[in-house]
Subunit: 348 residues, 4 copies
């Protein structure tokens, strides 16, 4: 009986804005299996009035909710609100949600960059809630655990930044690699581009092909750079190029960097252990080369590497599921931390 009471006490209510996109759906899948969470409201303006399973038959007999049009007052019973909308939309609703005392976890880029002008340059729009940016906490649990615990507004990291920052941060912080001339070559599954109708994302255009995109202009570039600089305590010069490849989910990053001081594989492993030994979702290997299939539908990031003493370089590989560790899974990990649950609860 004590157990049951404790469970009731711990149960929280969560609402989701943007429940019909790929990361919103992934979030609903994870939350519907989470032992501590009751799904309160699901908002999707275009699908308002429809049952979730009408839009996504996967949910039939699993989760019986109806999409609603968003209204801030509708979330009054919710403890936490997830915003799984495209960047540029969260900034219009977050101030109100915060004023209602809600914990907010935002999937988009609106609150990730402290420098508003950087945001406005890369996201190509004016920020409508700059006054809120300062209180946002960057939701990368491996580096920001204590700030996340007490945050009101969590800026959930981008998918590419997650795949690039986690493998680079320890080595930069410990001075094992040069902070200049780093190249991050990332490959992404198509779900990362979202769910809008676009002939560029059609099966025929994507299948049996590869292309780099937004070269030099991707909005995740300043997020990677400023986060690494904050961790390393020095400037970081980085070239990041995303490529679209014909897979549904997953990000593969191959990272090239110059090494310092004749470091060894043991030095690299030791650095990762120093920062990630208690991080439940980081798996580092000194032998295996990561493969996307090993992390699909899971919240893990797998990291591997090879040293090239001959030309003084290291190649680091990382893989994540862009919809889980790169979006919904990391958001739930942040929620777990926020509500003092086990960090891994409800996550695979």
């Amino acid at each position: 009986m004590g157990d049951r009471a404790e469970i009731l006490r711990k149960e929280i209510k969560a609402s989701v804005l943007g429940g019909s996109g790929y990361s919103g759906l992934e979030l609903l899948k994870i939350l519907s299996g989470h032992p501590r969470v009751h799904i309160d409201k699901v908002f999707a303006n275009k699908s308002a009035g429809k049952f979730l399973h009408e839009v996504h038959p996967w949910f039939k007999n699993r989760l019986d909710v109806r999409f609603e049009s968003f209204a801030a007052e509708s979330v009054c019973a919710s403890d936490v609100v997830f915003i799984a909308l495209p960047s540029g939309e969260a900034m219009n609703v977050v101030p109100q949600l915060l004023s209602l005392g809600k914990k907010v976890i935002d999937f988009g880029g609106d609150f990730r960059l402290k420098d508003i002008s950087l945001y406005e340059t890369f996201y190509k729009r004016t920020h409508s809630a700059p006054e809120v940016v300062a209180q946002a906490v960057y939701g990368m649990p491996e580096w920001n655990l204590s700030a996340i615990k007490s945050a009101s507004l969590i800026a959930n990291p981008g998918c590419y930044p997650t795949s690039a920052i986690l493998p680079l941060a320890p080595l930069l912080k410990d001075g094992l690699i040069s902070n200049k001339g780093i190249a991050v070559n990332s490959l992404s599954g198509v779900s990362g581009a979202g769910r809008s109708a676009s002939s560029e994302l059609s099966f025929v255009e994507v299948n049996e092909s590869v292309k780099a995109y937004k070269v030099g202009a991707h909005q995740h570039i300043p997020e990677i750079k400023t986060t690494l600089e904050a961790i390393a305590g020095s400037s970081v010069s980085i070239t990041f190029v995303p490529h679209l490849i014909p897979i549904t989910r997953g990000i593969y990053s191959s990272i090239y960097a110059e090494i310092r001081n004749n470091i060894t594989a043991e030095d690299v492993i030791r650095s990762y252990q120093k920062y990630y030994s208690s991080a439940p979702f980081v798996r580092v290997s000194e032998s295996a080369i990561p493969e996307i299939k090993n992390v699909l539908y899971s919240n893990y990031i797998d990291i591997g590497f090879r040293l090239y003493p001959d030309n003084n370089h290291i190649i680091i590989f990382s893989v994540i599921d862009n919809l889980v560790k790169g979006a919904a899974g990391q958001a739930v990990q942040n929620m777990n931390i926020l509500f003092d649950y086990d960090e891994t609860e409800g996550l695979l």
Copy 2:
């Protein structure tokens, strides 16, 4: 010199309406390699003014043409006009083209059905040029060779009908199978659905999945039925279901029919030989089961079959490339016949 003169005499000019869709592009690829054809004009209203290679970089350094907006007078120098537009558009331009004395080959469904009411039911629109329908010739060279030679307007067959009619027609005509209870189960690559932006055709929606679509309502149903009835000289009862599968090109049809009179595999082969022995693009095998990869980028149809004497059934398999034998290749085959070239010229 005689040779050269003959070549010049034989050279024809071809224009293409709808050069930016998948079958229009395939047509331009084939025509650009055809030894007898000069590409005159390429029309694509949305891309008018752009070079072909700007829209399709494949053509860079290969074919140097510019898209134009369509105007009937622009084709005055052309001997033949291909219409690679969605069904419903050709009927608005064909009467004018015919009055200008042009040979016309239409990829869509506007002139395939002699029964206007059937057209209007299945294509869900009013026919704007019913007076022209009677003179159209159904462009299936294996069954209509002499009519094609003298046609002004050729209705190029649909992709599914090509894959269903060619394997069934001989057996129905020779009475080897029952004209009732035939089931045609077809699988199609995504290029068959055209090139418009649609979230249903996005990589993420199509990849790693399968779905039947337009069940009982596909516009190719009356084309298959009436063509087979005309060949067999009797009514034909048929169930046709198309499915979308995650490949770019190709159609795989598996056809179930009841056999008559204890027929043998030799009877089946003999029937195919009777009608197709001089058809250059039909390959029938009594042993091999067709595979899509064997016909990709080619104008062949491969046919195979298995008899089940136990339950009196035959299963027939056929494969084509939907963009070649199912569209552009068959159109060029028709053009070759029309201009008295070798039927296989310029085709693989």
Copy 3:
């Protein structure tokens, strides 16, 4: 404390023979998340001595077991033994396991057919344990629930039979469709063909293609036919053709049958409800056409249909994940029934 004690009392130990194939791996994934099961031993002769995560990095930090070579005495502590070996191997170990008093769930075909000669014809080998066949229970919970509860040996259904029998059985039993001339056209993901090295299953051979295989000779034909005959109480004449398509997981079956007595969609729905209203993993829709993506990684079967009163036919569609409802998921469903757990426990 009472709760904890009850949980301990209910906990069972399970061993797995054939842990390195695709269905064995899927089983280990499901069992590792099952709240009532402790994984005891995992056998895989070729990988004996290796850790599971060395062969399948997915399991790193998730499940820490080592493959062993099989020896019957090693399973003495197990309550249930799953056999995820290719057909033809289980019959060599099952008699011994049964004599040790173990519950056995076999994924292969060795105990599915009561008629030994039928087995020997289709599986092309001599049965080495014919005396055990009689006590095997066909593990299809929707039709065999009470027999499964008390079984010692469960023959887990084949993937294709699951996809064909569940949609057909109610309609045949209720006489809504003819028992003759049924055609089952099935499409399967490549994982259904197992995990051995084969150039026919290589990416290059399978990608962008389709082929029918084992036409008229597939070992699942007698399983489908005899199971349906037992349920319907009459002979059933059926043509079944499997096709390999370029997806990893999933089976799509399109089933063509003649209808009786001017039946309506309501009659069909009523028949499904009659038999499946309490079956937790069967979802029937009278409007939606099933798609594979809606059941991936889950134990559901989705069923849809369309009636064609014009030519007296029905088309029924079903989709499953071949590794879950078609193998490991259904096996765990059977295990849940056997040990009196909720039928859905540990299943998605």
Copy 4:
């Protein structure tokens, strides 16, 4: 009549060793459509006695040849012999073929490296014909045209080296980029790994995943490095990492390099024009980013780039079809040069 005589005079006979692998097949497809070539003999020891179309139904009704077991005397009527065997096999037959006076074009790596010890290190075997290596000409027409014209033995370049050397060579030779710290990140379709049965190359293992392989150990590393050094006239330090991605054909290389002297995009374009203005298969764009689909089934290499003056870097992208420009197409281009045909004859 004179024309016909000239054609006959120009006609050459070609034989192929290793006709059953992916590059051998591609070669046979190209040669069968080449207006100057008669296919003499096709050797494939494992398939000896079979017709080509039995092994590859694509060739049915197209090319009617039978595989033979190789014997040097069988090629006495051939003008040129292509060797499409795995590396390590050509060196056992080339000396004999040369002594018979045959022109030889080898697809493998046996004659690409002048330094035998480098070959033996990276290919992990002893070279059996080191005396022949010196007379081999590296068959990269864009850089070696005159040597190819008079060669007896042509070492056809590897697929990755083709994709890396062509975009880098002009910029290195002209000193526009640093010769240190170059990173080549290449993605390859699965056909590049050959046609042997391997569970690692099965559809299920490759689909929906990505993995780097042979990191730091790939046999193409010394070929890229030594060729670039010979062209640039200085040492070159390069990191090359190949990745396997789920496409059938194509290579996508993303190349990161440090730029010198505040160079501009015009400088880069000018350098490419300087060396490639008369190279028929090199297409360079200063705006478009290359995509694999634009070069599939063709002999083109597409090159694009972006300059990053901020951090002094350039990213260069190149795409080829690994089986055409990366193997069989480039081999036919070399053959055309050798026999004084137009360089593009028979190539798309």
